[in-house]
Amino acid sequence: MIDPIFLVEAAVNGIMLGGVLALLALGLNLIFGVLDIVWIAYVDLVMVAMYAVYFLVMVYGWPIWLGGLGGVVVGVALGILVHLLIITPILDSPPVNQLLATGGLLFFLQSIATFLWSTDHKSVRVSLPSIELGGIFVSYPRLIAFVLSILVMVGLYLFLTRTFIGTAIRAVSQDRGAMALMGASPQKIYVVTSAVGGAMAGVAAALLSIQYSVHPYFGAAFGPITFMICVLGGLGNMVGAFIASFVMSEIIAIGGVVWSTEMGYVIAFALFIVMMFARPGGILAKRQ
């Protein structure tokens, strides 16, 4: 029987992981909610922004906070570029074409990153201590990432609910056609949404950089689970994605300690499959 203190530690680790997953899922969900297109390559945009943080901090010697801000700027630029170059021409295409286009972007980003920066794993070395509380260790980088993730999510919530442009974004996500009829320009809202989604990717990149090495295939670790969280929470449903992030991360963390690391993921994915049958619209969807 495992000591309860380790179960508590697992639960805390689950919360930390959930914060970062939620940040990734909210960016992807925001874009889907407004544009009705899934950016399959979203985590690969995070990967490119992580490279930006790495080069700014480790090669050009910027302080980590400034490097992180640089990553956010790169994220915003990438979000706008992806929208203008790839998404705009396919906005009215069938969903499968849209999926193929963003899937192609994923392979393009992985290949260009391999070409430019090789397959080497690059690490932002920050030396931060761990916090020990009653035998439970909490990693400082993960704690920082978690707190900042929550702050950014609160900021996003306030942006969407308390600003004019945020209200416009929510309006487009509710009825794209009606907004156009009222004389508003959905295209402008799309660009702003993509920029905000890109900024979220940049923030995630800055926070992940202090926890993970960056390499061209970074997306393979976080891409599938981020997408699953979005689907589990209900595509486009921000609150659903937030809750789903913590459900998944807690199952992975506690299941991993009670049974095994592999089993933690097996249970999480099995739950996902069951939920797709039980609640295909997401965990907060009303039953039909």
Binding site: F218, V257, S260, T261
Partner: protein, 442 residues
């Protein structure tokens, strides 16, 4: 009339079958003076940085070296045709098919990942094509398959797992202050054939020596989080941790275990990312002091006096040429993967191919297989120190080099030293982990 046609058709078919059966294998005259070798490694994907690219560099360097001297036996030029497995099994299989059946290579060489080598070895053998595995180590590649055309000069996973446990057992009492039977050991591994193979031999050797196995657990090399594994390890309180992984899982585990306060007396990795010291130091600096890895010996760490005359010069050639790829990596930090590519390909070019051409009439798969089965290089006869003698058909590990051995390396003063077996040791082991290590038991 109809009966006559049937008889004629049968006679023709019989004649064709007889001709095919008795026709000699293509001779060297028929094959020409170039030998096409398909060199299959991962140039992209996570395996590339975990050692695959370094093995390819080693293989390319020796092929270039031999070609600059006129080729095999001074007259048969090597044409190197590269394939990229992309760190994916299906891509490895497709690339192997391309190399064998489109590029029509005479030999398929390389293969970094055991997950690729396990299906490939059987497929290539069934096609009666010759395959030379330089790197992938899983026992499952050969175990009970009786392969006829697949050979591996490289050490196998069973030896990896045994070497690390025997090394720890040998220093248990005097350095770790515990009898081997009282030592608490944990084994963690990526759950592919490579990690599972090494972990299995870790476990059987630890049990044989009476060690206390407190945890054995696998994980996916692509897992985004390993904190629950670290928590379980802390709960299990091992003295020694045996770890087999690739990358980026190794870096993720080390980072999370450091932050979550995992403390052990010894940390023993097994190859792949654990042997890419330059990359580990980039991520963790001098904190990796005292870490171990297990791999075939690195040629540049072996005293050339213990090897057949002239091999030391070849090793120097390898080190010199490696500078063109990595000018800033010091000699003693070069990953053993470079030696695996350079040395194991050299055995093919210098021993197997000349015998196949001279004695067996060419470099078709049958001639190469016969020549490989006659290889008999004594210990000290290769740059990596081991001899080469392939297990014969009918052996449970037919095609595996029975004279290969694994070495335990340790990071001592920022560089790799061989610490086991003693015959090739270049440094005295530091056990337990130095107090400066964030992973050191306090």
């Amino acid at each position: 009339m109809t009966r006559l046609r049937v008889v004629v058709a049968l006679a023709l078919a019989g004649a064709v079958a007889f001709t095919v059966a008795v026709a000699p294998a293509p001779t060297v005259q028929a094959q020409g003076r170039t030998i096409k070798i398909g060199v299959l490694f991962d140039h992209s994907g996570p395996f590339a940085a975990a050692g695959s690219l370094n093995v390819w560099r080693g293989a390319k360097m020796i092929i270039d070296y031999v070609n600059e001297r006129g080729g095999v036996m001074g007259k048969y030029k090597i044409v190197q045709v590269d394939g990229d497995s992309q760190s994916k099994t299906e891509a490895a299989i497709n690339e192997a098919e391309r190399l064998l059946n489109v590029e029509k290579v005479d030999i398929l060489a390389g293969v970094y990942s055991s997950a690729h080598a396990v299906p490939l070895a059987e497929k290539v053998d069934k096609q009666k094509k010759f395959m030379w595995i330089t790197t992938a180590i899983a026992d499952a590649v050969f175990k009970d398959r009786n392969l006829q055309y697949v050979f591996r000069p490289q050490t196998n996973s069973g030896l990896f797992g045994e070497a690390s446990v025997q090394y720890i057992a040998g220093h248990s009492q005097n350095k770790l202050k515990k009898a081997a039977k009282d030592l608490r050991v944990a084994i963690i591994y990526e759950d592919g054939p490579y990690g599972a193979g090494v972990a299995s031999s870790n476990e059987s050797e630890a049990k044989k020596l009476g060690m206390q196995l407190v945890l054995k657990e696998g994980y996916s090399a692509q897992a985004p989080d390993l904190s629950s594994l670290v928590t379980k390890l802390r709960a299990a309180r091992p003295d020694v941790l045996f770890h087999t992984g690739y990358n980026p899982d190794i870096a993720l585990f080390l980072r999370q275990s450091k932050e979550q306060g995992l403390r052990v007396k010894a940390y023993v990795g097994h190859g792949a990312g654990h042997s890419q010291l330059a990359k580990l130091k980039e991520a963790f600096g001098n904190e990796v002091e005292g870490f171990h890895t297990v791999d075939p010996p690195a040629s540049q760490l072996i005293d050339p006096k213990k090897l057949t005359a002239g091999l030391g010069d070849l090793t120097n050639e390898m080190v010199k040429r490696y500078k063109s790829f990595e000018p800033n990596i010091p000699r003693d930090v070069i990953a053993p993967h470079v030696s695996m590519g350079f040395n194991n390909m050299w055995v093919l070019l210098n021993d197997v191919l000349p015998r196949a051409i001279q004695k067996h009439g060419g470099f078709g798969a049958d001639a190469l297989a016969r020549a490989a089965r006659e290889t008999d290089i004594p210990e000290g006869g290769t740059m990596q120190g081991y001899g080469v003698k392939f297990n014969p058909p009918g052996h449970p590990m037919a095609g595996q080099n029975g004279r290969a051995f694994a070495a335990v390396f340790q990071v001592i003063e920022g560089q790799f030293k061989h610490v086991y077996p003693e015959v090739i040791a270049t440094g005295a082991p530091i056990l337990p982990l130095p107090a400066s290590s964030p992973w050191a038991a306090r």
